[in-house]
């Protein structure tokens, strides 16, 4: 709504009234954030995350050191925390499903490093060998394909971290990563991998915008 009695300082045209100008600026801010995050619209939350889980996960985030300034020519980087769905688990095996938004993975994002964080509760003085199988879903025939596996010695209760290799990173890039944690050699009374509200397994990934997004200024 232009105000006939005054002039825009920048372009010399009729000035907007303050409320319209504020609306316009907020709209610009929204569009700028969505553009820079490569999102077509603001995300709608399907599965809220509990504060306890959020707090645990945030302690694992590795941001730039406080006060460090980003060099303007650095490519945009992300850190992602993805919480596992543990639907298809039982006492002897915990299955973790991680999903990454197609628009993020299709946009040429490259996962630089990924690690799994999970909480284990053991009886005192016991040691477990844990096999971690990395699987991908074959889009054609919906079968699971084992791409690699890790063996882990766990001898204390608490949070444990496993760095995932390039195979898992490739699976993340395809949008869906499946991990199976199978205790070896011992009969469990109950699952040693906890996934209650405050102990939900999650994955952290450091992501860089891939070359497709690079705009080179000549």
């Amino acid at each position: 709504i232009s105000r006939a009695d005054s002039q825009c300082l920048a372009c010399g045209g009729p000035a907007l009234d303050l409320e319209s100008q504020r609306e316009l600026l907020l709209d610009l801010a929204k569009r700028s954030i969505l553009d820079k995050l490569h999102l077509s619209q603001r995300p709608t939350l399907s599965r809220p995350v509990s504060r306890a889980v959020l707090r645990n996960a945030l302690q694992c985030l590795h941001g730039p050191p406080q006060g460090a300034l980003l060099e303007t020519d650095r490519t945009q980087e992300y850190e992602i925390i993805s919480f596992a769905e543990t639907g298809l688990s039982n006492i002897n095996q915990t299955r973790l499903d991680f999903h990454f938004s197609p628009e993020r993975t299709a946009g040429g994002m490259e996962i630089q490093q990924a690690s799994l964080m999970f909480f284990v509760q053991l009886l005192p003085n016991t040691t477990w060998t844990l096999k971690v199988r990395v699987l991908v879903l074959d889009p054609q025939d919906t079968n699971l394909t084992l791409i690699t596996q890790h063996l882990l010695e766990v001898d204390a209760s608490g949070w444990h971290q496993l760095f995932l290799g390039p195979e898992a990173q490739d699976a993340c890039n395809q949008g869906h990563l499946i991990l199976e944690l199978v205790p070896e050699g011992q009969v469990a009374q109950k699952s040693v991998i906890l996934d209650g509200a405050a102990h939900r397994p999650f994955m952290t990934a450091q992501v860089r915008v891939g070359s497709k997004h690079q705009v080179h200024r000549r």
């Binding site: 603001r42 939350l45 996960a57 980003l70 938004s101």
Partner: protein
């Protein structure tokens, strides 16, 4: 750069805070609660357009002068008020899979304005 104050019509930086709660984005953006976007506004009349201090850069000042001398130019001297320094913004937010994403986005906060 110059901060916009009172009735000044000169090229300056206008402070502007975007409150995520006000725009209804506080559910998916975890931190921060808002950010100072700021913007540039004001005129770049001829004498000012030529001053390196307020120009976007020394080269811009020289170009503005060349342009101004060779063309009549609109009332504003043919030079615009633009950001000369910007700062990144760190965002922590949920994506549509309820993953938590931490992103450092360059050039989101206008720190200073000048004539170009």
């Amino acid at each position: 750069g110059i901060e916009c104050q009172g009735g000044s019509r000169m090229c300056c930086r206008q402070e502007f805070f975007v409150d995520f709660r006000e725009i209804g984005w506080h559910d998916w953006i975890i931190q921060p609660e808002g950010y100072t976007m700021n913007f540039c506004t004001g005129q770049c009349p001829l004498p000012v357009a030529g001053m390196p201090g307020i120009a976007a850069s020394f080269h811009t000042a020289v170009l503005s002068l060349l342009k101004a001398n060779s063309a009549a130019g609109p009332a504003g001297g043919g030079s615009c008020c633009v950001p000369t320094a910007r700062r990144p913004l760190s965002l922590l937010y949920y994506d549509r899979d309820s993953n938590i994403v931490k992103a450092d986005i360059p050039d989101m906060v206008v720190e200073a304005c000048g004539c170009s």
